[in-house]
Amino acid sequence: MNFLARFYGSSIGKKWIVALTGLVLVGYVIGHLIGNLQIFAGPDKINAYAAFLHSIPGPLWVVRAFLILCFVLHIVTTIKLAVANRAARAQRYAYSASTELKPAKKTMLLGGLVVLSFVIFHLAHFTARVTDERFHHLPKGEYDVHSMVILGFQNPLVAGFYILAIFFLSMHLSHGFQSVLQTLGVQSEKVRRPVTIGGQALAWLIFVGYVAVPVAVLTRQLQVIP
């Protein structure tokens, strides 16, 4: 207990918490993507996957609870750090310039907030299914994720918000990956460039993977199979 209190009470401890929870969440983002891409293998495959997840409610809720914990810790701790960081520069510069600041770094907080609002909508939309009446009587029954996703993304507003949120998520990750390694102290001078470039490449691969689904729906490559 003493350890946790001292750790979380310190600047470096908080940074570690943000990095570790970020790492867990990235793992989830990749796992979720692999699940999503099954939609291209046809309705049977992805619907069976959905049915399987729901057939093991115990483990599913353990994982969900852990993810929610990480998500909340990631956000709350970041806010704590951001507040302290603002306070540390009591008086702003009249002329502000930077040598290193890139868009991805500047938008870590803003992008994070866009992603947060998206996650809330996304859970209401596809997990709790409270935003769309049609999701209660899908053509192939309760676990017809295939039809649900396609019906959902046929609405350009839904698809648009999704793509925007994924864009911000990828921006967030493009700085996040190497940031995590730096904070956990595993980054050395030697691996810094490859880690930075590799992290950015992974972030934008994630973007392409996620966005492929709504784009395929909007261009009618994916349609509801009755």
Partner: protein, 249 residues
């Protein structure tokens, strides 16, 4: 050359400061930035105005006393100290903003002079070796691998100027603390107090109100001593390890 200066003027720590416009005239391109301010001050004094107060000492790039954030960059547009910055880096007629190093932990004393003793207090919290080590050892009586010696030397180059804090969007002092921690952690003499050192220095750093590194690397870009951000990586590794040993074991 002639320059339009926008200089931060502030009577003391309590008073509100503001940017005041000055024209600096007939500045030789070979003058250093501080010499340019000397010339400005002579012109101000000739007119009976208060000269601009700024920090300086060696003017050789060694001591780290000179500060100034010039057009938003700590120590201005070259990766040196301000005393080693020459006016040829600027264009004739250019507008230059000159502000003090900004951080809550660096209160303004007057005009461009700030109080950086927060860094001294962090240093005093553990940035040294307690034992008297006597005079220099015979060569090779304590063996230090070349790699470790290089790393210690690289970190020891820190002149405690505070540019890392001034340039960091979060006013974090982690490059400074990382340099001190890495310096001693790389050498055999630093080992006995290694854990206590990092715990105490980080605690002091947090108490002094510095911000938290969010990996922007502005500090590394402006550091006149070329301290690499890998020292922050070392700090990030050493701190939790020391805390585990201190509170669990």
């Amino acid at each position: 050359m002639n320059l339009k200066l926008k200089v931060w003027r502030q009577k003391n720590a309590q008073s509100e400061g503001k940017i005041v416009d000055y024209e600096a005239q007939n500045i030789p391109a070979d003058a250093s930035f501080l010499e340019m301010l000397d010339i400005l001050n002579e012109q101000l004094q000739a007119k009976g105005e208060e000269p601009v107060v700024f920090d300086h000492d060696c003017r050789e790039g060694i001591c780290g006393a000179c500060s100034l954030t010039i057009n938003g960059i700590a120590h201005g547009p070259s990766a040196t100290t301000t005393c080693q910055l020459y006016m040829r880096h600027f264009k004739d007629g250019q507008t230059i903003f000159i502000e003090p190093f900004r951080a809550r932990a660096f209160p303004v004393v007057r005009d461009l002079m700030v109080n950086r003793s927060a860094l001294d207090r962090i240093q005093r919290a553990g940035g040294f070796i307690t034992a008297r080590v006597g005079s220099a050892q015979d060569a090779n009586s304590i063996l230090v691998p070349k790699k470790d010696a290089d790393r210690a030397m690289e970190a020891a180059a820190c002149i405690q100027c505070g540019a890392c804090v001034a340039s960091c969007p979060n006013a974090s002092a982690m490059l400074f603390v990382g340099a001190k921690v890495t310096h001693f952690a790389s050498l055999p003499q630093g080992q006995p107090e290694r854990q206590q050192r990092v715990l105490q220095m980080v605690r002091k750093m947090d108490e002094e109100g510095f911000g938290n590194c969010s990996n922007h690397y502005e500090c590394e870009a402006v550091c006149p001593a070329n301290i690499p951000i890998s020292v922050i990586g070392q700090l990030n590794r050493d701190y939790p390890a020391a805390l585990v040993k201190d509170s669990v074991v």
